[in-house]
């Protein structure tokens, strides 16, 4: 209506100009003024209106500018050609300009649509959870369609208005059944559709390749022109593409999660089986020796030479100790894995912790030269003394286990870059190159490991040191051998 008035006004202006100029210009030239008006109308209004304006212009030209004035009659027959030509040109201008404008408008719509879908896919690409993906899509849809939008997700196959991305959508609970129908059938329903056209909202299914993941509910804003925009065919189409893109993103999220779960599950399984095989082997071997030695002593003890009896007894105690250590390590590992380690930290002179570890190792250190180089004026370390002592003890025990009997060991501590470094050094074969990190993995045994370790000592050390926000590494030692370096940040209580 507004367009029609505008067109009429433009024709009126053209007429006024023509009437003023009709004494100076030939009528054929006045036609140009009208054509100018038609161009203006065609650019500003729809093609229907500009076609109408073309006829109106020709009529006005005839009435006001073609003599005799103020009648539609034409005295000079050449003006019939002028009128026909003018009408033809005006109509061509109207339709072509309109088409051009439609093209531009369509291009703009396509561009907006492409942009909306691009934003949707880039926003959804980062989402790893279904609910988050649905929420992103809903909030983007609100921007793009200028409407209020929420996504309803199913719980056990039932669409529930409780599981939704936004609480701001005022849809009555009675429409849950419409949403359910949409979910079950994969067709849209609700406001201005074939089914339930009187509903508050329009319900669009989020349909993926194989199943429907939820329902997108669109509630047009009350402002009339926005509402009408949503229901324009190209917007409806965009809405459907939007919904299916969202469904695909959800589908991708779900399959990613399934893949991740499978991966974790497989890893856990693998861990469990390697744990079981390592543990059962390590528990059975000493048990077998104990059982064997003890039963030998019981049934044949009297007939065995005293020396043999003594050896059997020794192997029983040795193996029992080994079993005890293994069980202790397993218990520790379980403790460290069941959650963050609870540290009972306090400030200690490092000397004391080192001294305790050496004291505990004393029986195994006989025949070895053990040098201790603790730097003067080391700061007190803020640690759990029992656990750090256990780390040192483990490292020393490894050093004894993996180096030739009688080879020297070293324990050193110094301060460097705001951290206290503690090193356990040996002159053994060293850690095989490339295995420096792997030896800290659970149940990993170096290929050259003949000492029958359970592969738990170093992982426990690392767990303890990392709980103190420190690091532990294996380094090759200059002149041969291995250095295990612990770095503990200097902290105050």
């Amino acid at each position: 209506m507004r367009e029609a008035l505008l067109a009429a006004a433009i024709v009126a202006i053209a007429t006024a100009a023509s009437v003023l100029l009709r004494d100076t210009l030939a009528p054929t030239n006045l036609a140009m003024i009208y054509l100018g008006g038609v161009v203006a109308v065609a650019m500003l209004c729809s093609s229907r209106v500009s076609v109408a304006a073309s006829f109106l212009s020709v009529a006005a030209f005839d009435f006001f500018c073609v003599p005799p004035h103020l009648t539609f009659a034409v005295t000079d027959y050449q003006y019939v050609f002028t009128l026909a030509g003018m009408l033809a040109v005006a109509l061509v201008i109207s339709t072509q300009t309109g088409r051009l404008r439609d093209h531009a408008a369509q291009a703009a719509v396509r561009e907006a649509r492409t942009e909306a879908l691009y934003r949707l896919s880039s926003r959804l690409a980062g989402e790893t959870r279904v609910f988050e993906a649905a929420r992103s899509a809903a909030s983007l849809a609100e921007e793009v369609f200028g409407a209020r939008v929420a996504v309803f997700l199913p719980e056990d196959g039932r669409i529930s208005f409780r599981r939704r991305t936004s609480d701001l959508l005022p849809v009555p609970p009675s429409e849950e059944s419409i949403a359910q129908w949409v979910f079950d059938h994969g067709h849209k329903a609700g406001l201005r559709t074939g089914s339930h056209p009187g509903a508050t909202a329009l319900y669009v299914p989020l349909r993926g390749a194989h199943e429907t993941f939820g329902v997108l509910a669109v509630l047009p804003d009350v402002v009339a022109n926005v509402e009408s925009r949503i229901f324009a065919p190209e917007q409806q189409q965009l809405l459907e593409v939007f919904a299916s893109q969202t469904a695909l993103a959800i589908e991708r999220t779900l399959s990613q999660r399934a893949a991740e779960e499978t991966r974790v599950h497989m890893q856990t399984e693998q861990m469990r089986s390697s744990l079981l095989s390592a543990v059962s082997h390590d528990l059975r071997t000493p048990l077998a020796s104990i059982t064997g030695a003890a039963s030998t002593l019981r049934s044949q003890g009297g007939r065995l030479p005293l020396e043999t009896q003594r050896e059997l007894l020794e192997s029983i105690t040795d193996e029992a100790e080994r079993l005890g250590r293994l069980v202790g390590n397993l218990l520790d590992m379980t403790r460290f894995e069941s959650g963050p380690v609870e540290l009972r930290r306090d400030l200690y002179p490092l000397e004391e912790i080192v001294g305790t570890a050496l004291q505990r190792m004393e029986p195994q250190l006989t025949g070895r030269l053990v040098s201790t180089e603790l730097a003067e004026n080391l700061p007190l370390v803020f640690v759990d003394d029992v656990l750090i002592g256990q780390v040192l003890w483990n490292l020393l025990e490894n050093a004894v286990k993996y180096t030739p009997p009688g080879s020297p060991l070293g324990l050193a501590a110094f301060e460097e870059h705001g951290a206290v470094m503690i090193e356990v050094r040996d002159r053994g074969p060293g850690v095989p190159p490339g295995e420096e990190e792997r030896i800290f993995q659970k149940f990993y045994r170096a290929k050259s490991d003949n000492a029958r370790g359970a592969g738990l000592g170093l992982p426990i050390c690392r767990a303890i040191v990392e709980a103190h926000r420190g690091t532990i590494r294996a380094l090759p030692r200059e002149g041969g051998g291995a250095t295990f370096r612990i770095s503990l940040p200097v902290e105050s209580a």
Partner: protein, 229 residues
């Protein structure tokens, strides 16, 4: 007469080997399986030493220590599980004399029993105590290392004196702080550690590998005057 030991332990296998080991040393043995029974036996028989397992079926072993301490000074040696420092400290603070962590070798247990019995029967110790290269003259308050007099601050000397009074026995940080600095300082374990470190530097040949001033990790300290058997 040989000392009488009361063993309060619910596990039959452990009772069995302890019975054999203690009999071989000629100790007289009384066995109890529950805390109730143990308390009754302790009151009736007045043993020379109680070997107490902390994990008893009827009552917490710590309660047994508390009850026994209410009426007597019978030495108590606790058998505790590995890693339960909290229990050990609680037992010691309640008045237990020492502990042995399970699993233990019998030799270690017998040494602890001997040391505990010796402390309980010892009359006033001699005035000069000797361990390693260290001589401590308690009368003159003079400490010598390899014959050379070493200067100790008053607190260092007091700490050493407390450790000497309880030679061989583990003392918790709380007990040491209480005896040296007084009851209001029992939470300041850092003091203690610094003083122990200083004592070690003055008395031990290699302070990083102390032979005499030993740490019981997570529990406390012990002065060892003899070389380990």
């Amino acid at each position: 007469m040989k000392p009488l030991i009361l063993l309060i332990e619910d596990d039959a296998q452990i009772r069995r080997f302890l019975r054999a080991a203690l009999a071989a040393e000629d100790y007289r043995l009384q066995e109890a399986v529950t805390a109730e029974e143990g308390l009754a036996q302790a009151a009736a028989r007045q043993p020379d030493l109680i070997l107490l397992d902390l994990g008893l079926p009827d009552r917490d072993g710590l309660e047994v220590i508390q009850k026994v301490r209410e009426w007597g000074k019978i030495p108590i040696l606790v058998l505790s599980a590995r890693g339960q420092e909290k229990d050990k400290i609680a037992a010691l603070d309640l008045g237990a004399d020492d502990y042995v962590a399970k699993p233990f070798a019998v030799g270690e247990l017998l040494a602890r029993i001997r040391a505990t019995l010796r402390r309980s029967t010892a009359t006033a110790a001699g005035t000069v105590i000797r361990f390693g290269a260290v001589d401590v003259d308690l009368d003159k308050r003079v400490v010598r290392v390899e014959g050379q007099e070493v200067h100790l601050t008053p607190n260092e000397y007091k700490l050493l004196q407390v450790l000497i009074q309880h030679t061989g026995k583990v003392l918790t940080q709380r007990q040491l702080l209480n005896e040296v600095w007084g009851p209001q300082h029992t939470e300041q374990a850092q003091y203690l550690r610094v003083y122990i470190a200083q004592l070690r530097r003055k008395l031990e040949r290699n302070p990083a590998r102390p032979k005499h001033l030993q740490t019981e990790p997570g529990v406390g300290y012990r002065l060892v005057t003899e070389d380990p058997a």
